[in-house]
Each structure stands twice: as structure tokens, then as C-alpha cells.
Amino acid sequence: MVALVIALALFFDFTNGFHDTANAMATPIATGAIKPKTAVALAAVLNLVGAFLSTEVAKTVSGGIIKEGSDGIQITPEIIFAGLMGAILWNMITWLKGLPSSSSHALFGGLIGAAIAGIGIHSINFESLMQKVILPAIFAPVIAGAVAYLCTKLAYALTSRHDPESGGKLTQKRGGFRTGQIFTSSLVALAHGTNDAQKTMGIITLVLIAAGLQDPGSGPQFWVITSCALAIAIGTYSGGWRIIRTMGSGLTEVKPAQGFAAESSTASAILASSHLGFALSTTQVASGSVIGSGMGRRGTSVRWGMAGRIALGWLFTLPAAGIVGALTAMLVQTGVVGVVIAAVAGTAAVLYMFLRSKKSHVGHHNAVEVDQAGQAVRFRKKKKAMSVSSSKDEPKGGL
């Protein structure tokens, strides 16, 4: 059982990775700042690095939503197994639909559903649920969106150039933002690694403790950290092209300055929230930023229909993952046969969705139609490169 849960947790980490590549890399791909393949490779490496940087989040994974400890209920590996099943299936469904949705919410939803079915409704700490999941879900896109809106306005105001005499527009020369995007999107990928790989580490550690294979209260072991980091990096590298398409071109048309502003806001919001202990979802922050920056640039329209679909997806994340988690928990309770049925059914569902995705293939070659436009824009950059030739070796280094 323990081995099964660990395998499932690593697979969840993998889905988490490819689901969230879009958060960091959708906008630079859309503006043509980085080539799609290079972008996912970069994101994968930074996720790997990020996963090793911090293990703070790993210690508080279920975050008190399910009452645990001496006066509460002991979480069993079975519950975690069921919860992971719910989270993975929901991640696969939203990926198939190309919807960016929070992997952590899927995980919480699955665990909650499994705990309700397996233990009872009293096992859920609703106040904590409200505080840690529902309110952040409302505020994350609002905060990120507002900051991205302001930053986009600022970026455009500071770089808009008019002829002082005639008042006519000069060449705007905003090509530098494309270079900047490489750095900001890398920062988002790094932040993602420090956040999301942790959740799986936390889960595996929880299972090991529950099974009595590790001392309670100790941090994740080294092989756990390594395998989680690798799983999320491989997931990121395989690239959730469908979601990249939605984020990069489905919500709004992204220009380099906008992308730069959106990514700076995303990175700041994620890093600030993970540092100050008010957890925000990476996906929701990133989507909010893209929408906010879309509103900030004049002449851009935000496709609210798509935004609405995404928001609807978020609403369904908790209950949907919860229901799958609950069903799995009930199956698992019947004994070994139930576990086998659940595992087989889950694998079959994942395979089915994978095969269906093959019918309308979305890969790095066609993920973002804007890639065409990106090349056109890159063409213009060459002209710019002559007049701003030395902008590439600017002392922005480090990172």
C-alpha cells in the first residue's frame, strides 16, 4: 500500500508539473521570447532547482484542513491514496480541456472527499478550509490581476515615446522587455518548484510516518526530495501544451511588455505568499496576472468567455476531485480487492484520457498560434538589435 501511494504521489507530481508549465512559460512562448522547447527545458531545470531550495512547505501539507493528531483522526495511507486518485483524475480532465486549474486545490479536494467518505464529515476543519483554500482562491487572482494591471500601465507609460515637438509617436523600442521576460518567467518557474514539489514531498512523508517507517515530526528524506524534484521536472518538460495555448493566447493577446509585467507580478505574488505564509495557488495567480495585464494595455481585449470557463473550472475543482476521492475511499475500504479495482480503474481512466488527447494533438509545434506572430515580431527585433546592439550584455546577470 505504501509503495502504491508513493508511486501515485509521484505521478501526481508529474501531472502537477505538466499542468503548471503554462504558468511560467505561456507568455514568453506567446511573445516569441523563448522557443517553446527551450522554454519547457528551462522551466524543468528551474523546477528541479526550486524543489531543492526549500522544504518549508512540505511540513504543512494537509495544513490542518483534515483534523489530525492526538485529538483528531489519524490519516491513513488509504485516505491519501483515494485523495491522490481524485486529484490526478481532475488534473487529467482539466488538462484535456486545456483549463489552467490549481493542482493544490485538486489535491485538497481529493483529500477532503476521501476523508469525508472514509472517516466522516466531522473530520473536516471547515474554518481552516475557508481560510486556506476558499478565500485565497478569491483573492489570488484579484491581487495578482490588480498588480499586473498597474505594472502594465506603468511599463507602457514609462516607455511610451512621443516627439516633443510634433507630438507624433516615435519608435517605441520595447524590445528589451523580451529579454526581460526570459528572467521573469524563469523566476516564476523557480517559485513554482519551491512551492509545488513540496506538496508531494509532504504527502510521501505523511505516508511514511503513518506507516511507521519514519519518525513523526521529521522532515522529508533525501530520496523523497530527489524523486519529487525529478518527477515535477520531467512533468514540466513534457509540457502541458493545451494549457499553454489557453494561457498564452486564449485569454488575451500578449505583448512583451505585458508579459514582463504579468510575470513580475506572478513571481512576486507567489514568492511573497509562500514566504509570508498565506498560500496562494500558482495557477490562479498566473491567470489573474495575464488577465490584469490584458486589461492594462490599451487596445487589448480580454476574452471574458474564456476567463469565465476557467473560473467555472476552479469552482468545480474542489467538489469534483472530492467526489472522485470519496468514491475511491469507499472502494478502498472494502479491502484489497477494492484497492486493486480502484488502481486499475484509475489507470484505465488516465490512459483513456491520454488516448483521447492524441485525437487532437497539441504539441510544441502548434501550442500557440501566436508563434507565427512571434516570429514576425522577432523579425522586427533584429532591426532593433542594431540600434540597441549592446542591450544583450547588460549587467542583469546572476539569477
Binding site: 505594472c151 516607455t159 509585467a261 505568499s273
Partner: protein, 73 residues
């Protein structure tokens, strides 16, 4: 309810993002001015652009320093 933490996160996000974006935008703008052909411009424009990019990079590095527990402990 952790309203204070919420406000803190919102504020930190705002300050960090605005700092980075303003510095970088200034850098972009100054590079653009420095690159203008047929226009007289002070000689400090290009170095100042680099200073802006440099400060922006420093701001990011400082943020990383704050966040990575290995350094701040």
C-alpha cells in the same frame, strides 16, 4: 481570519512587482534614447540604463535572498 497576512502579501507583491517593472522599464526607455540616431543626448544615458538594469537584477536577487531559507537562517 488572517486579514493582516492577506494585506501583507498584497502589499509585498505590489512593492516587489512595481520596483522590478519600473526599474526595468526605465532601463528599456533609456536604452531606447541612447540608441536614437541623429539626436543629441547626454553621454550618461546609456550607463544610466545599465544602472537601472543592474538595480533591477539586484532587487530580484535580494528577493531570492529573503526567500531561500538557506540564506536567511
Amino acid at each position: 481570519m488572517k486579514w493582516l497576512e492577506l494585506v501583507q502579501v498584497a502589499g509585498a507583491t505590489l512593492v516587489a512587482a512595481v520596483t522590478v517593472v519600473v526599474l526595468y522599464s526605465l532601463g528599456v526607455r533609456l536604452t531606447a534614447i541612447a540608441g536614437d540616431v541623429n539626436e543629441r543626448k547626454p553621454s550618461w544615458v546609456r550607463p544610466l540604463a545599465y544602472v537601472c538594469f543592474g538595480l533591477c537584477g539586484l532587487a530580484v536577487l535580494f528577493g531570492l535572498y529573503l526567500i531561500i531559507p538557506y540564506f536567511s537562517k
